[in-house]
Amino acid sequence: MRLGKVKINHYINYLVIGVMTLVLGIMSASGAGFDSSMLFLLEKIAISIILAVSLSLVVGFLGELSLGHAGFMCIGAYIGGKASALLVPSMGNGLVPLLIALVVGCAAAAVCGAIVGIPALRLRGDYLAIVTLAFGEIVKSLFLNTSEKTFGGTLGLDTPRYDKDYLFIIAFVLVLVTLAIVQNYIRSKHGRAVTAIRDNEIAARATGINVTKYKLLTFILSASLAGMAGVLYSYSNYNIQSLKFGYNYSIEILVMVVLGGMGNINGSIIAAVLITWLNTWLPTKLTGDLAVLQNLLYALVLIVIVIYNNAPKLKAFRDTYNFGALVKKFKKHDPAHINDDKAKWDVVPTKISMDEVLSVDFTPQNLGPDKKGGDK
């Protein structure tokens, strides 16, 4: 769809979130005032969106599985939270310390992203997944065992909470910033290089793409955005504890990305909103022993969706019965309409075939342009 020269599809998410934030902001400013439960929910939703979108960068676009995303968030939350805890007493709980905390938190997470990114250059697939998982657990464990004066140890770090009447607006502005960074990155030539690496690393290398650089860059970007979410998290809580940022939380973020459709940013956003809302709403409905049903539901939905989307045998079925086909049925074909945006880089499905990934020579120097002469 085109609106003048601007492709509206590319900006629809900015528009929706921006308008929603403005409306909510004005409502809040006009004195209507939201209940705390609403404000808490909005903050959580914003944090989830940032996390899901940033993880989508690695999982959906780079095609690598990261199970330690919460670890980067943890670093952002602790480092940024510590910065704000130090600054707020002297500077007041305003925007300036918040911005400084954001910068510090993002930078710290970015550094760790680089540290994890380096093994990521040598490992692929399941190995990388396990390394990121290990990283997340290490971070969790390190912060948990700090002394009380530095990062609070088991007691958790006491962080200043930003005034809840405004924090959700800042949070959604940060969502917009995240979207701007991620979508611009993906729609640039860098983004196309990243998806090329995902689809066939060796072919990408052969065409002269600097695989090392792009993998590292994507990892760092994703990590620093997760760090930003962490800082925001520290600002929305009085006390943060690293136990929260374990493997389970990483999986929860992954579920959002998967449910949204890997490599589909808008899908991730919708899934993040939905899951976060369900997480707060379901426990009020499913009380007592029923509370477990929530996890059961998530697990089932995850399995069914992944199988449906990926099973090779269901491909024909998917092609006939999908949302797009359904819409097309109801839409008149317009011969004047030229589909000029065939290459939608942000919705390319992951299609790495089994043996490409599973038979990996782990020594990078051997990964150079094909020496055996393509037998495939």
Binding site: A134, A203, N310, A311, P312, V357
Partner: protein, 290 residues
């Protein structure tokens, strides 16, 4: 001296459990080429089966029941959740496995509640050894692990079925062309892996008589770590990695200053080894085909 001996023995028996789980991981990974994240939770199912079956107060019967339940469960999971994804991206398979893991955990929580249950399977008692008291169950664990490893190695090397497994793991398409039933082999692999998980569940209960719905999660992850350290796909590698990890954990808990960092230390070892030797100690190097 006493301290060293008791720490080592503890480490070895813990390592035996890790090795047992890692063997299952390594078999499945080597042949089905997938990381079965739900493997740890099969241990948990084995634990609960023993818990239920112990109502009859017959340990042997309970273990047998656990093995049967786990094998049936493992094969079913493979059929329902993993087989449709054969040929899909490994990412999809891995995420499904995570989903299965969560599914098993929440099912267990619904059926048995979230509070841990205590069950005493069998009391082996303890013996004096080099001036330290040691649990007989630790020795049993270690002995059984060694036996299982040997039998598995011989099985894979010397039987037709075992060689078929190697063939599938080397090149699935070629194996199929040679008339090997690839799906059948993978099913058998899952059955073996699951029965090992049931045994691991038993040894866990011998060590700590406690069943809970999360009991498989951490051991599962650590055992995978062990399998990777030893070189995934390699049976002696799994044994080596498991024992190494168990001993490291035991030593680390012994030293007060670093005890709280035990998990961090174990995972750091994993990252370091993968950086230095990405295929683990005994893993085979694979070439990438284009």
């Amino acid at each position: 001296m006493e301290v060293i001996v008791s720490t080592l023995i503890n480490g070895l028996s813990l390592g035996g459990i890790y090795a047992m789980i890692a063997l299952g991981y390594t078999m499945v990974y080597g042949i089905a080429k997938m990381l079965n994240f739900a493997h740890g939770d099969i241990i948990m199912v084995g634990g609960y089966t023993i818990f239920v079956a112990m109502a009859a107060n017959n340990p042997l019967l309970a273990v047998l029941a656990a093995i049967i339940v786990c094998v049936v469960l493992g094969v079913t999971i493979e059929k329902v959740a993993y087989r449709p994804l054969r040929g899909a991206s490994p990412l999809a398979v891995l995420i499904t496995a995570i989903g299965v893991s969560y599914l098993l955990q929440s099912l267990a929580q619904i059926v048995f509640g979230s509070a841990p249950k205590m069950v005493t399977v069998y009391e082996f008692g303890s013996v004096e050894f080099l001036g330290t008291t040691m649990q007989v169950s630790s020795l049993v664990t270690l002995a059984v692990t060694v036996v299982v490893m040997t039998v598995l190695t011989l099985f894979v090397k010397c039987t037709r079925l075992g060689r078929a497994m190697i063939a599938v793991s080397e090149d699935r398409d070629a194996a199929q062309l040679m008339g090997i039933n690839v799906n059948g082999i993978i099913t058998i692999t899952f059955a073996i892996g699951s029965s090992l998980a049931a045994l691991a569940g038993l040894f866990y209960l011998l060590k700590a008589p406690n069943v809970s719905f999360t009991m498989g999660a951490m051991p599962g992850i650590k055992a995978f770590t062990a399998a990777v350290i030893g070189g995934i796909g390699s049976i002696p590698g799994a044994m080596l990695g498991g024992i190494l990890l168990g001993v490291v954990e035991s030593i680390s808990y012994k030293i007060t200053a670093i005890a709280p960092y035990t998990d961090a230390i174990e995972f750091s070892i994993l990252i370091l080894i993968l950086l230095v030797k990405p295929t683990g100690f005994l893993g085979k190097k694979r070439r990438e085909k284009v």
